[in-house]
Symmetry: C2
Subunit: 213 residues, 2 copies
């Protein structure tokens, strides 16, 4: 019998309390250390001070755990975007809308560069359009990254910066460009670029989107 000695404070009770949450948190940590493939079920249970089998009381399989971790990571992306948007101080509504839109891109890419592992994990699990709006993936304002982008684009239309004609599907165009750059940065050919160059590219990609939409 493995007594569980060696685990942190050695669970007071036989029950864990909130194993589901603990496993997700361990998973998010692992994701930060090594990306989606590092989200290993056994290691997560180890960190939660629990037997591998215990995980199956809360997740159907490893993929289900990874999905949950992925949702948590998307929530972190949402927070990164919100943080960049919160830095905006403008009285001009039109300018504010434009900057909020750009902040979606900068926040997204800043997170990708600061937390590559968690970023990759956030978009590793196949999600469809419904799950892209699930509340588990939302930030403080209760909006997912995708929803933050949608809102920002709607505001562009409201402010007359984007014609209603070009509005449809604009989120996918913008998302493609920014997400693609993130991929090239993280494990694409742009990985080794010095940071200032990366910043320049970020600006230019967002310029391209703004101009090309």
């Amino acid at each position: 019998m493995t007594t569980g000695l060696g685990d942190s404070p050695a669970r007071a009770s036989y029950r864990h309390g909130d194993l589901r949450r603990a496993l997700i948190e361990a998973g998010v940590d692992l994701a930060g250390e090594g990306g989606p493939s590092a989200v290993v079920l056994r290691e997560a249970t180890r960190r939660a001070g629990v037997t591998p089998s215990a995980a199956y009381r809360h997740f159907a399989d490893r993929q289900a755990l990874l999905d949950a971790v992925c949702s948590s990571c998307q929530a972190l992306v949402a927070r990164a975007i919100e943080a960049d948007q919160a830095r905006i101080h403008t009285t001009d509504a039109t300018d504010a809308a434009r900057l909020r839109f750009r902040a979606v891109g900068t926040g997204y890419l800043r997170f990708a560069l600061e937390e590559p592992g968690r970023f990759q994990t956030a978009f590793s699990a196949s999600s469809d359009l419904e799950s892209a709006t699930s509340s588990a993936r939302a930030g403080e304002r209760g909006l997912t990254p995708f929803q933050l982008l949608t809102v920002a684009l709607d505001d562009l239309v409201t402010e007359g910066l984007l014609s209603t004609e070009h509005r449809p599907a604009a989120e996918f165009l913008a998302w493609s460009a920014v997400h693609g750059l993130a991929e090239l940065f993280i494990d694409g050919p742009l990985r080794a670029l010095p940071d200032p160059v990366k910043q320049t590219l970020i600006t230019r990609v967002i310029d391209m989107v703004e101009q090309g939409l």
Copy 2:
């Protein structure tokens, strides 16, 4: 002793002949069936009719095999681009340059949709800018996908369709947008979209790039 009976024609010789190539080919097949994670060393050796250990005479480890498979898959991407470019019939040089540029995008995305597993594998292994120009990743013309894009952009400049001012780093902007769309298609939220809608998005993203560069 596992005689190897059950393997296809049961190797004539004790030596395989070209195991390295056979393993890569098996790997490319596996990639097509299940993406990068399906490129399993043991399964590749099984398909080559050989013991798992034999692979280590040709590859340092699984990652080395995956790298080689990745290069092969990039070569397939190059061929897909070349195929789209070959369909162009125009006497006007300016028009041709523009269409060749767009064909880089359409070929890239067509391959991503037709062969999602191999496409993902092509860009799964971390490659830097040098390896993006390695000949193992080239198509018939001896150019990698990245090089095909670079050439297409240079031609745009030659034809006066792109100012030299905007030329620098343009490949990364274009690549970001197209690659990002591919990701959204393959295991992103756009996976379930009907094909005609996908085609429309492809056109619009390339429009965006052309206009926003």
